[in-house]
């Protein structure tokens, strides 16, 4: 979930290894300046190393991320609501900078936000609401909802803003590619441990087959935070990973 970075406004990290895919996607869309500038078109790999050298941001392990959260809650007396709001807003801002409405085919651009059963899902709900305010047309899939006032309130806010909630997830990647221009993965966050239960296992499999860009909140769902690789589910390629 949200950590010190949301507060420090350190900005975002693009999952560099997938930049080429972003290039492929947006070349089909209306052109427009993107926030990282024209270098991106030339060589994803070269740009990647320049960015990585200049930003010099520390990556947190799962324990460190959890420790940051604990400090924010216990010492700084932040509430989950506050941090979740900041996290979701920051993510929506990041996504809107990476995939501005003017660069998308549809007007308003359609976005599918998939929310998991925990705080990462809550971040997704906040993110969807702000994306709506920024001029996107989000749809949410939120199959497992915790029975807590924080989450029911976030759902109400989205419903009242006419953000539809899907009853079921399309099982064919092609269907999602047709309907949505961007998918936001808000399924699991950094505190995820253990096995992936249904329906999320199937959802993650579907996401692997997508051609539209995927923006993952905090970490690509299912990716082990401890490992350099992509965790027990094998690589599932997020194009954009705003790390909170």
């Amino acid at each position: 979930m949200s950590g010190l970075r949301a507060l420090l406004g350190l900005g975002l990290l693009v999952a560099g290894s997938r930049l080429q895919r972003i290039t492929t996607q947006t070349s089909a869309c209306r052109s427009g300046p993107t926030w990282w500038g024209p270098q991106r078109q030339n060589s994803g790999v070269r740009w990647n190393s320049e960015v990585m050298a200049s930003t010099a941001v520390k990556y947190l392990s799962q324990e460190e991320a959890q420790a940051v959260d604990q400090e924010l809650f216990n010492e700084y007396q932040f509430s989950v609501d506050q941090l979740m709001e900041l996290a979701g807003l920051s993510c929506a801002t990041a996504i809107a900078k990476a995939y501005p409405p003017t660069s998308m085919s549809r007007s308003p651009p359609t976005v599918l936000v998939i929310c998991g059963p925990g705080n990462n899902g809550g971040d997704g709900l906040v993110c969807a609401r702000h994306l709506k305010l920024f001029g996107y047309q989000p749809t949410i899939y939120y199959p497992k909802r915790p029975n807590k006032p924080l989450f029911t309130a976030l759902v109400t806010q989205c419903q009242k803003m006419d953000i539809p909630f899907l009853g079921e997830m399309p099982s064919e990647p092609m269907v999602i590619d047709e309907l949505y221009e961007l998918v936001v993965d808000a399924i699991f966050g950094f505190s995820f441990k253990g096995d992936v239960r249904e329906p999320f296992h199937s959802i993650l499999s579907v996401l692997k087959g997508l051609t539209v860009p995927i923006a993952s909140i905090d970490i690509p769902s299912g990716a082990g935070t401890q490992e350099v690789g992509w965790g027990r589910l094998g690589p599932y390629p997020p194009d954009f990973c705003p790390q909170v």
């Binding site: 507060l7 420090l8 406004g9 010492e75 700084y76 007396q77 932040f78 509430s79 609501d81 506050q82 709001e85 900041l86 807003l89 929506a92 801002t93 809107a96 900078k97 501005p100 305010l133 920024f134 029911t152 309130a153 109400t156 806010q157 009242k160 803003m161 006419d162």
Partner: protein, 249 residues
């Protein structure tokens, strides 16, 4: 102060740009009760957006070290809570805020927001000099988060009232959150005699008294009002661009 009898007949329904005090309260109630927003969410969004507004009016690269120091004066009610959040985000944005929060609310929201500021090493003044020249010399700008619409000046206690008296004589820039503290939220009376901010940051939507504002910049900040609510209150706000949470009026 009783609110106005109804919408100003000279304003066409589609073009209302201001909210009366009663309408502002009704809009907030709708967000809290129907939309189930939490007060903490809205205060956080307003405070964050207020800080962003300050950075737009006084961009950091153009400021000297001294000019980055910001005195944030917070009252005991919601306007003060927004001020506390604003101070914290100013700190994150690398300004150097100091807070004067003499009359502290006991409610949990205020206490937690205070803790967050304290833990981020934002100093809290124990008293505010009555000699305005000392404030002019110590700070680059002042944020007035003392009184919001519908709060009577006499409700906030001596230290806040004295602070406002001092701020009236300020020569460094003054930014007021939502309404200039001490102005009547409806009529803007006392706008001659009261605070004369350089920047007004209207929260969510401008209040009636903003019509009397004659300072340098007027922003609306806090981008969270759903379209349906805007329509219901027949509000026409300037367009926010991109992901901005602040729009200039």
């Amino acid at each position: 102060m009783s609110s106005a009898a109804g919408p100003d007949p000279s304003e066409a329904p589609e073009e209302r740009r201001f909210l009366s005090t009663a309408e502002a309260a009704a809009l907030e109630r709708e967000l809290l009760e129907d939309y189930r927003f939490g007060r903490q969410q809205l205060v956080e969004l307003c405070g964050h957006a207020s800080a962003v507004a300050v950075t737009k009016a006084f961009p950091l690269p153009a400021l000297s070290r001294k000019q980055r120091t910001v005195l944030v004066v917070c009252g005991p009610e919601q306007n003060g809570a927004v001020g506390l959040v604003c101070a914290r985000h100013l700190r994150v944005f690398e300004y150097e805020p100091t807070i004067f929060y003499p009359t502290r609310s006991l409610d949990l929201l205020h206490r937690d927001l205070t803790t967050q500021c304290e833990k981020m090493d934002i100093p809290f003044l124990s008293y505010l000099p009555t000699e305005v020249q000392l404030i002019n010399e110590a700070y680059g700008l002042v944020v007035d988060a003392v009184l919001g619409p519908g709060v009577e000046p006499r409700e906030v206690g001596g230290p806040c009232t004295r602070a406002l008296a001092t701020l009236k004589l300020l020569s460094i820039p003054l930014v007021s959150l939502d309404i200039p503290s001490g102005w009547d939220a409806e009529t803007g009376s006392d706008s001659e005699d009261g605070l004369r901010p350089d920047v007004l940051v209207s929260l969510a939507a401008p209040k009636r008294c903003a019509g009397r504002f004659s300072g340098r910049h007027h922003f609306v900040a806090g981008r969270f009002v759903p379209d349906d609510v805007l329509r219901k209150f027949a509000l026409r706000l300037p367009g926010y661009t991109g992901t901005d949470c602040v729009a200039a009026l």
